[in-house]
Amino acid sequence: MRLAAYLHAFNGILYRELYRFLQQRSRLLSALVRPLLWLVVFAAGFRAALGISIIPPYETYITYEVYITPGLLGVILLFNGMQSSLSMVVDREMGSMRVLLTSPLPRPFLLFSKLMAIAVISAIQAYVFLVVAWFFDVHPPAIGYLTLLPAMVLSALMLAAIGLFISSLVRQLENFAGVMNFVVFPMFFLSSALYPLWKMQEANEWLYWVCSINPFTYAVELMRFALYQQWNGLALAVVLGSTLGFTLAAIAGYNPRSGLLGRKQGPA
């Protein structure tokens, strides 16, 4: 296959995802409502209860709204990643997944293209949220919006890869909804999205360790630092490693020889 063929296929997958996203206006709205509720309602209530000390990357005292913004960006990426995986399970049940899987291009490339398309849509939603958050006194440095982009795309890739991996294990739509409850909410709450890890450690050492091994924590920290033009080497390493690991696991899951698909009931 020529290089151009790969490019055409990537464009086709990206276009389809973007078109479907733009057709579902309620999807953008619901993607924004969830984090906005946290930012406006939850943050207002917890501002007084949760004092935030000066911790990197911040160089001064910050409001709780500013603190949770990277976490809420993470929530957008997390939910979009999982929602896109849900759509893959739907595609599989409806049969349209077969069109992707029977393409002559290598399956790892096709699945990676799908992940990239999901990441692009996640990033669009996250930037729209940042624009809205600006009106609620979340004003990161202007250049931060740019330095955030690679961290956000990488984090979105990681979360989409986790979703894709889960979708390769789940055969029925009904099961997927159940699995999500055990993935999305624990990932979100057991992370540094809502409270700094040191606060968690003060409250419960065991929970702190759970948060410390949650890859979502590192995605949030990577974006938090990137928004203030700083590097967090550990977060980058964990997010990169998790992205690679879950992408390979998802590819293996969709491999007709090694994957679970079709072994029990029938073809994907």
């Binding site: 055409h8 296929a9 393409s103 002559p104 007709p256």
Partner: protein, 244 residues
């Protein structure tokens, strides 16, 4: 050269044997009906041919290329209409076709020309901007056929492709497929349990409970099994008859 060659192919879903030691070959440009009752293994065979499933037991060769070693080349030369609809209901006819063309690496110009040709061939050009969700079963099938032919495959796999269609659409599709076979040398493997789709002189493969029960021209196979018609033969190999 054989368009499709299968040697000692077996497949299991867990403990259930879906295909058991299947071997056959289809010469280039031939038409072959794959017959068998529900659960005979036809759809599993198609899933293996399109690499939705993979088996460690047996060999599949498409135009001489091993499907396992060269899946890209094999899939590039293959077009498929699945039993279950695989269209994206929220996209228009044209968008569905463009998506498929992109997944086969066709450039925008190639894609445009091919889509135009297939839309005309299946008389759906004037509905190209309609969402698939708005189409009836017959038109959806036409779109699936148009899509399967977009990248000019040399081997066409049809899995119960005319089930649920009215007589006119079935006739039109049957005619198109046979034209493709005779005029353009496209090899066709047509799985069906609608015996009207198969003519007396068509070669057939008869599957029963995962095994290849018979192969050869339709009329002699029917005669070999002491049946007066293909319809009678299908009744004879049905699971209920096998149990009796």
């Amino acid at each position: 050269m054989n368009a499709l060659e299968i040697q000692q192919l077996s497949f299991q879903y867990g403990a259930r044997q879906a295909l058991d030691d299947i071997s056959f070959a289809l010469p280039e440009g031939s038409f072959c009906g794959l017959l068998g009752p529900n659960g005979a293994g036809k759809t599993t065979l198609f899933a293996l041919l399109t690499r939705l499933l993979s088996s460690r037991q047996g060999q599949i060769r498409i135009f001489g290329q091993s499907l396992e070693d060269n899946p890209g080349q094999a899939l590039q030369s293959m077009g498929m209409v699945f039993q279950q609809s695989t269209l994206d209901l929220d996209l228009s006819i044209e968008q569905n076709l463009s998506y498929h063309a992109a997944l086969h690496g066709l450039s925008r110009a190639q894609s445009r020309d091919s889509i135009e040709q297939q839309l005309q061939r299946f008389s759906i050009a004037e509905r190209r901007h309609e969402r698939v969700r708005q189409l009836n079963q017959g038109h959806r099938r036409r779109v699936e056929f148009a899509r399967a032919l977009l990248h000019r495959p040399r081997l066409l796999l049809l899995d119960e492709a005319t089930v649920g269609l009215d007589v006119e659409t079935r006739h039109m599709i049957n005619q198109h497929v046979r034209e493709l076979c005779h005029d353009q040398g496209v090899t066709v493997l047509w799985s069906s349990h609608l015996v009207d789709d198969i003519h007396d002189d068509d070669p057939i493969l008869l599957l029963q409970q995962g095994r290849l029960l018979a192969q050869g021209p339709c009329a002699p196979v029917v005669a070999q099994h002491d049946c007066a018609s293909l319809h009678e033969l299908m009744l004879k190999v049905s699971p209920r008859a096998a149990c009796a």
